[in-house]
Symmetry: C3
């Protein structure tokens, strides 16, 4: 966004453009409001991208290996795309899900399937992200269809053979100021270290401490995970005190490697504090595979409070992404693995669940707790009221099933009236789809500009304030929430 990302001259498509993302896309349709929104958007359009939570592997940037083909880059890893194709009857392996990289013929076939079924995505953000990515990153101006799929595939494939489309070149072109990855606590962060020490790379790529598996004593592989944690930390995890110390150790390691936050995604956000003896007892049982499910859950909830306690000490921002029933369809999970499109949201409670944690640390100096949700009923009922009182709590941006135009508007409509704009985190793209990062941030900026423009048009805000707020939403607000 900092530079013009549409230029891909050597491969300019020969067919006349049929469609290109409209400069006013996603702005409000009423001409008076749109005029205001255009001015607000102009103020933020080219600002650098701050991406404090996402899933791009640091290795891509460290190795700067060329991307391979359009399907493995733009389709297979994007479960927003593959799930809806699956719903329409396509087998996931035909899209490269759970198969490893497809060969050239299969890769092209998968891309054709996408073209044939492009109508499925009408009304979804995936369509807009793909369209914007194809246009702005690759210069594609044709609409995807059965007819155009091969041409577009060839065009993108040609682009990917050139140095201008290698990860670091795109990182620069996209104007990314900061990119946070998501990492296992036992990861040695070698790629982050390599990037930080590389004088040829000017960007900032930071790890995020994501300890979910290590906080679920009910998992079958918990004993092995504890061994791995011991190895990584050099701390004996044979007892509860060591377990806690090992986690503290790894958090410190992450902090030393630039991490700004830890991220937590469990089935709920219930918290509680066990006494030390009870925590020790359950931990010991879990190590022997003997903790019963209720005990294991209790220890997990206790450990979430421990994470908050450690955050107060080591300064990592704590972000919560709860409320998803993972791997809803076991046969699919068995066939193609996790994260394949059937994690389904459930209702989630924050007010009572987080009370024990906030009772202890809600007003602790420097503590930051960002609350994300896939259950939008809590926007106005729980998250905004919590963020509107506790100095530690930030209302997380719309996430996953909600990171789309209508949902983003509902989020602002539900949260702002209680918590304003300055108690929110700013946008996170939460994506592994590297090439879509500019499109996602651009969408968010357009929608916030539109929301603010409506406030101006309804004389609820003056335009100078709206401009300042729009800029803050992509600069000072995420920097403050994530301590950048």
């Amino acid at each position: 966004m900092a530079q013009d990302v549409r230029v891909c001259r050597p491969w300019v498509m020969t067919s006349p453009p049929q469609l290109s993302p409209h400069p006013d896309r996603l702005l409000p349709s009423e001409p008076g409001v749109r005029a205001i929104a255009r001015r607000l958007y102009a103020a933020v359009q080219d600002l650098p991208i701050v991406s404090p939570h996402g899933h791009v592997p640091a290795q891509w940037l460290a190795d700067d290996t060329p991307f391979l083909d359009p399907t493995s880059l733009l389709l297979s890893p994007d479960h927003y795309m593959t799930r809806l194709l699956h719903a329409s009857g396509v087998a996931l392996p035909d899209l490269g899900v759970g198969t490893g990289r497809l060969d050239e013929a299969a890769s092209r076939r998968a891309w054709r399937i996408l073209g044939e079924r492009w109508a499925l995505f009408r009304g979804t953000p995936s369509r807009l992200w793909m369209e914007t990515t194809l246009a702005d990153v690759f210069g594609v101006t044709q609409r995807l269809s059965a007819q155009t799929a091969d041409d577009i595939y060839d065009h993108v494939a040609r682009c990917l053979t050139t140095s201008a489309f290698r990860p670091r070149a795109l990182f620069d072109r996209f104007g990314i100021e900061l990119l946070a990855t998501t990492d296992d606590p036992c990861d040695d962060l070698a790629h982050h270290e390599a990037l930080a020490g590389d004088p040829g790379f000017g960007g900032r790529v930071v790890p995020t401490f994501r300890p979910d598996r290590y906080l679920e004593p009910g998992r079958e592989d918990f004993p092995e995970l504890m061994k791995a944690l011991a190895t990584a930390s050099g701390v004996d995890t044979g007892h509860y005190a060591g377990y806690v110390a090992a986690l503290e150790n790894r958090r410190r390691y992450f902090v030393e490697h630039g991490a700004v936050s830890s991220d937590h995604s469990h089935a709920d956000v219930v918290t509680l504090t066990l006494d030390r003896a009870e925590a020790s007892r359950i931990y010991a049982a879990a190590l022997s595979g003997l903790a019963d499910p209720a005990e294991a859950t209790a220890l997990r909830r206790h450990m979430l409070v421990e994470m908050a306690r450690m955050a107060v000490d080591d300064g990592l921002v704590m972000t919560l992404h709860p409320g998803v029933r993972r791997n809803h369809h076991t046969p699919t999970f068995r066939a193609v693995g996790a994260d394949t499109g059937h994690d389904i949201p459930v209702a989630t409670e924050f007010t009572r669940g987080l009370q024990p944690l906030l009772e202890r640390f809600g007003t602790a100096a420097g503590f930051h707790l960002a609350l994300f949700t896939v259950d939008e009923t809590v926007f106005s009922r729980e998250i905004a009221p919590l963020a509107g009182f506790y100095p530690s709590v930030y209302a997380g941006a719309p996430w996953w099933f909600l990171d789309a135009p209508e949902a983003i508007r509902r989020f602002r409509g539900a949260v702002s009236e209680t918590a304003g704009f300055y108690r929110t985190t700013g946008f996170i793209d939460d994506t592994r789809a590297f090439c879509s990062i500019p499109a996602r941030h651009d969408m968010s900026r357009r929608l916030d500009s539109g929301f603010l423009a409506r406030l101006v048009a309804e004389h609820r805000l003056d335009e100078d304030e709206a401009v300042e707020t729009a800029v803050d939403l992509v600069t000072t607000i995420p920097r403050k929430a994530f301590k950048l």
Copy 2:
């Protein structure tokens, strides 16, 4: 809708028109968006009506008996109307609820009550449906009021004496391509058979298998229902295997008589699978009236999975309409019976509840499961994510308390971003109010046109795509979801 339904020339009202439904009603107010919406609506306005779920008795069409009077046709059976009048202080029997048909004086009095209290319905869809029905079906252009009630009553009553207003004539005039009724599993479907065999009737009227009562082993009359089921099926229902076989038998009977779906409305959609011995044991207990409530509920939940299993075999689409506390006010239920306006929604959970069913049949070839709700919090949180992954799951259209303009817009806004348009069922009118069927479908078409027009105006969709989608929503989409 296929023909001009406003013509009722012999009874043209003498008073000057004071109000008639505006040609742009329900389209977005912003002139630019409205212009697009008009073009989209023009493409669907006159398409035939597909009504795959509703409550019109097949007998009306089989016998083609004239309707009797305005009150028994338009007011008494419409619990949207009678409930709000009741809330304002009118006794239900004064509206013909629970009384059988009112005599002429009482019928006219009931209609006058409606006229006097017409302001109650401002902001409701009932007002729009009634207004459109009166105008388009009967040529009434005056607004209902205490002053006009008698005139309108007389006018409609005169219409009803003519052959142009008999059920089959209206069926043709309305342009109904398919009408599904809702029927008891023991029904002999004689009226459907008569209609199918009648060379003078060109429409398609199909039954729907609605076995709720037969799947609730906790009901007091369950033993009698099992006897009736045995009689209808010719299968001994004295044991569990016979119960299952009898249901399979009746489903087959319905399929042979044209049914395309089974419909299920229980308090929740929790599903589970009992082992055969346990199911048999509970069934035997229920036959003796000895099943405890928890057991009875377990068997009902198990039987819902059985229904899915049968659907995989016999091809009936399975539709769920859960989440209502029936007969909330016992004194009213005792006085005037069920379906009298005090069925009140409750929060409903789909993600966890349906997991056991979807685990087994979610990707089964040919299985279709349409999820309706009166709890709109599940639109974005549960239904769209399920419909966005499972090939079997379709997001059901807004239903009952939600089949109204604002709620329909919320539905599209909540569902489309995850599931698009092509994983939804299309509109169902779900009504017993025969004369309002065109008005309801017309409302839905206007609102979908408006929603799509906004996407076009915001450059999120091209207009050619929007036109195609609008047409699909009333043609290919319901035909695919309901296997028509």
Copy 3:
């Protein structure tokens, strides 16, 4: 509102106006809709204020003591303001929360903090209320900021020294027709009595019976409360029958002093009926501090049904304001007391919870039950369906976290399609911030005008009907719901 409230000539600010509330603020932005909304708003703008539920102390009006300073009048008691400042890092005592009145220097300092952090309130209704209050009541036309805080403080402080800004003068200026306060059952209502008997005061100020504490047998201070109740009523509360009689006695006392409603705010609205022996037993246990929590909760739920029974007899309207986890952060509660900004909403169920109460009294002659909520998921799912059937039930206006523009629009959008406009209560300001009462009612009138205007623009309502409805919403509708 009845008079021009902007005039404060002796203190006209010398700096040129930088901002004043725009005459079209909060009206829809689309010019066609706005034109209609303006006409509707013009019809209601100057109508008297009916405030049937709020928290202004009657003593202010009885004593007519001058207000002291801007901070203690406009900032310290407004927990909408202080909570968001707290979230941004300000200590509550620095804002005068929990401290008693601040001295002049501290008061000015608190006001400066507000000015410095004014951006926090962008997008909130607090900003609009404060802006409108400062402009319309005090003639302030500058925007609050670090630069203007002192000037505005001085200006308001000067106003407060004059007789035109004493409580009664403002009461008249604001055009308040009726103001309900909220009072403890043991209050002697001397201030209400004084006002009623004062020939120099023309307004109507009525008490509201708020017995929450006396209906929570689980409270530690329950035995002392029962003693106080005995003293106030002259009825022996040593046994259950006396407890009930004492409450009846105090309700009667409130009725005799002009009360029109009782108000109830518990954690939930579950109701049940205990048999007399069980109720007596639990009550006796509670008097000895021996009732266990489940028993205490059961008695509270039983007593809510008793309140309904009494309401049928004595005619008090029953209003429910449930669903808040009070005093979420114990350290803050201990430091500065209750009602300090950390009451956080929780999900609330009405359909099943109220069934036992409505079963008995839902259709009782003259019974009125107004349902408020901070959980907006129940608007369309539970409250509108209940208000759309039961003659006793009224859908309460948006409350607390929901009494803001976007939420009010969502309320109308969710409730009107099932319950229309005439089964709602009309607006309540629910505030202790006396000077903001006109601003709050004005906001509500603008938003309802805008909502109705959209219905007109979409041809869902005729303009004459919309005007009538807008007027009814601030006159006949609250008068009927609250029996004024």
